[in-house]
């Protein structure tokens, strides 16, 4: 059974249509890039997958069931904003994840945080934005999930951190799980993607294997994307 399936999804606010008739299947064992400009509807789609928004039409199935408690057990989600309780220390946040997620691996989290030389007794509010993002990534990647959804994980981080993030994603990737990465900075990510989905003005324009696309269109994904949307 497909890991995740979007069937005829529409989402509108008042009269404004943000997503139009999205049909999408996410298989297992793939790293998939959802690529689109700012405001193309990427984040809206991701939020629908995570039950933070309700679709105007259509439905999203995870392992064949509508999004809900069961889907939240198997999806590990990194939002594009900082979403942790800033009054807690890193250690307390780890405890929080441990309390609520059965598949959270505390040992792994501690190891990753140690690699990053982050002080686990520090309050999150006292950390720089980059450090907060790293903590969030570590927490999300330390769950043994079936689907990791990373919304703009590389937004505004320095090259060293970017490499670390990509490394972490690759190191933790296993063949039964899938990873969805959204981004508008394609160049940095395209190397690790199995499949790409182009999204523009709320519609899916293209879905393809990334190497096949490079072969067919003779160029990098980044270039092909720019050509297509003239940006």
């Amino acid at each position: 059974m497909e890991l995740l399936k979007c069937i005829n999804i529409d989402k509108s606010y008042d009269d404004k249509k943000i997503l139009k008739n999205i049909n999408l299947t996410i298989p297992r064992g793939k790293i998939i890039g959802i690529l689109g400009k700012n405001g193309s509807g990427k984040t809206t789609l991701i939020k629908l997958m995570n039950d933070l928004l309700t679709p105007t039409n259509g439905e999203i199935l995870v392992n064949g069931k509508k999004v809900g408690v069961e889907s939240k057990k198997v999806i590990s989600y990194l939002p594009e904003r900082s979403y942790l309780n800033k009054n807690l220390t890193v250690l307390e946040t780890i405890k929080y994840f441990e309390d609520f997620y059965e598949n959270f691996d505390t040992k792994k989290a501690n190891k990753l945080l140690k690699d990053l030389k982050l002080d686990i007794n520090q309050k999150i509010s006292k950390m720089s934005k980059g450090m907060q993002e790293k903590v969030a990534l570590v927490l999300v990647m330390s769950r043994k999930a079936e689907l990791y959804i990373l919304d703009e994980p590389l937004g505004g981080v320095d090259p060293a951190t970017r490499d670390y993030i990509l490394d972490t994603i690759l190191t933790n990737f296993d063949k039964d799980a899938s990873v969805i990465i959204t981004t508008h900075i394609i160049q940095d990510v395209e190397r690790i993607l199995d499949e790409v989905i182009f999204i523009n003005e709320g519609k899916i324009i293209l879905t393809s294997d990334s190497d096949e696309l490079r072969n067919k269109e003779k160029g990098s994904i980044d270039e092909i994307f720019r050509r297509m949307f003239k940006c």
Partner: protein, 263 residues
């Protein structure tokens, strides 16, 4: 899961309130100490100041408790943290119940702390005597017990607080279904619902009064109400508030289950 949620919710509320609890108790004790030092105008004044500060702090605790709970509700369910709250593998109903139980427990704790500091401020053998000589005989004549009255009053205050709080939650939920001016709408919705609630209570009493002549006196005369009517009034209010509390709670959970639309 519910237990763990409540643990975190209570922690984040008490983190702030505990400071006020300590302050109000300290002020009460200091006030008592200074007022007990005889023949000193200065100490007397200081004592009075602490007395005032304690009372102010008590009001502060009640208001702050409500405000903190609303802020926590908004932050957890509609703020940045909502991205974490709503992606926890927990039913919406459980998330909501945790907030309600946290409200009940923290409000209860606040009332107890306030009661204790009132005792610290005003407890004396004179006061006991007054109660014994004047109030108790009065109550006995009317076949009432002091503890009964106190319990009923506390329950009433408590239900009123819980309703104000929950109506605020409804306002926040409804306000955040709008696409713009969410906070403004939240406040407006809360006020409207609260007003409607009080109007319905008044209406019910009026209908009741049409049936019961004695009860009608509340509306048409200025006479001191007699004890039986007072009893009916309290019981009527308590039942009404309890029903409203449960109904609005169910409505809120229903609304919540329809799904949130987080910004």
């Amino acid at each position: 899961m519910l237990k763990k949620l409540i643990k975190y919710d209570i922690k984040s509320i008490l983190k702030f309130l505990s400071i006020f609890y300590i302050l109000v108790l300290t002020f009460s004790i200091l006030s008592r100490i200074f007022l007990n030092i005889e023949n000193s105008l200065l100490f007397n004044i200081i004592g009075q100041i602490f007395n005032g500060a304690s009372i102010a702090m008590m009001i502060n605790i009640i208001i702050n408790n409500l405000m903190r709970l609303w802020v926590l509700f908004k932050q957890n369910f509609y703020g940045d943290e909502s991205y974490l709250t709503h992606t926890l593998p927990i039913e919406k109903k459980t998330l909501y119940l945790s907030k309600i139980i946290t409200s009940v427990l923290t409000n209860f704790l606040s009332i107890i702390v306030i009661a204790i500091s009132l005792l610290i401020l005003y407890y004396s053998s004179d006061l006991l005597n007054i109660i014994k000589t004047t109030i108790l005989p009065l109550l006995e004549v009317n076949n009432l017990s002091l503890t009964g009255i106190i319990i009923f009053l506390i329950v009433l205050i408590f239900l009123e607080l819980a309703n104000i709080l929950q109506v605020g939650y409804t306002g926040i939920i409804l306000g955040h279904r709008k696409n713009q001016n969410k906070v403004l709408y939240s406040i407006i919705f809360s006020f409207v619902i609260y007003t409607i609630m009080q109007l319905i209570l008044l209406l019910i009493m009026f209908i009741f009064a049409l049936i019961n002549k004695d009860f009608m006196n509340i509306f048409i005369t200025n006479e001191i109400v007699n004890i039986d009517i007072f009893k009916t009034l309290v019981i009527l209010s308590i039942s009404f508030y309890s029903i409203v509390l449960i109904c609005i709670g169910c409505i809120n959970i229903k609304l919540f289950n329809k799904g949130v639309n987080v910004e």
